[in-house]
């Protein structure tokens, strides 16, 4: 007895990964990002020392905040997968989605930081603790994503990348310590002063706050959608496998 082939587009199927909650979140995010643009570029004043260059900070600081938040989420989700009962695959997918987001925003951080540095310091790059650690962290997470791309079963992928993700977090304080100690040997670093040493007036602080809130909402939205996409990828791999197994059994005349 043949069964109906599964319909590829069910009439009850909703397209995409959205739910009512994510739509609300999405609208809020768009509004906040719009405010960020308005405040950052227009309403907030230029800085006393930096001039208009401070406006870059309103996207640069939220980006680095988001990148670090993403990597913390990756580490936590990795820990949940490794040490939690049941080795949750959902945790693995959250870790992976979060790392992807983190890498993108780390790249944005580095580029916007370089543009800011070009204006304020006259150079695109400086070998100070923060920048150097950020660059190495960026490369480490590219390595993490490369490990996720290795061939193997889903649980292998999850276990390997969870360990790499946790080791990457372990490495951050050590790298930062070593680079800071290293740069303290070289006096030039203090002259250029890489600290965001601005006395932020009310409107500037508010713009920064808008940016951080906007990007946090954005992170949540991206994480939800991207993890759902990864879930669907895993599920279709599974059903693909199930279908292949069913076919083999049918060929062998074995009743399922």
């Amino acid at each position: 007895m043949t069964s109906d082939p599964p319909s590829t587009v069910s009439t009850t199927s909703r397209r995409g990964t959205a739910t009512a909650a994510t739509r609300v979140l999405g609208v809020l995010t768009i509004v906040m990002i719009g405010w960020l643009g308005v405040f950052g570029l227009l309403l907030s004043p230029a800085d006393r020392d930096q001039g208009d260059a401070v406006r870059i900070m309103y996207v640069h600081v939220p980006s680095v905040w988001l990148a670090y938040l993403a990597f913390i989420v990756t580490a936590l989700a990795s820990a949940v997968h490794l040490f939690g009962k049941g080795h949750s695959m959902q945790a693995d997918r959250v870790a992976g989605a979060s790392a992807e987001i983190g890498v993108v925003f780390m790249a944005v951080t580095l580029v916007t930081g370089m543009l800011w540095g070009r204006i304020t310091w006259g150079v695109y790059w400086q070998w100070d603790a923060r920048l150097t650690t950020t660059a190495l962290l960026f490369i480490s997470y590219i390595g993490y994503l490369a490990v996720r791309g290795l061939e193997g079963s889903r649980s292998q992928r999850a276990r390997r990348s969870a360990i790499v993700g946790l080791l990457a977090v372990l490495e951050v304080p050590l790298v930062h310590w070593s680079v800071r100690l290293w740069r303290s040997l070289h006096q030039e670093a203090t002259v250029l002063g890489t600290d965001l040493d601005v006395s932020l007036d009310g409107l500037m602080l508010f713009s920064l706050f808008v940016g951080v809130v906007a990007f946090t909402l954005l992170f949540l939205w991206l994480l939800l959608h991207r993890s759902r996409v990864l879930t669907m990828i895993d599920l279709s791999a599974e059903t693909g496998l199930d279908a292949a197994l069913a076919q083999r059994r049918a060929e062998g005349g074995v009743t399922a």
Binding site: V9, R14, G16, T17, G37, G40, T231, M232, I233, S236
Partner: protein, 44 residues
């Protein structure tokens, strides 16, 4: 605005990256979900 190129460039790169990432995620979401019924989606 002094150094407008750098500043606007930073905003363009930031928002552009966000837009690209969002667009690609939504697009994957739509095309993958076409092969699945609502029952199969764990978040629904």
């Amino acid at each position: 605005m002094t150094d407008a190129g750098f500043i606007l460039g930073s905003y363009a790169i930031t928002f552009g990256s966000i837009l690209i990432f969002v667009w690609r995620t939504v697009r994957s979401g739509k095309s993958l979900s076409d092969g699945m019924s609502d029952e199969e989606k764990p978040w629904l």
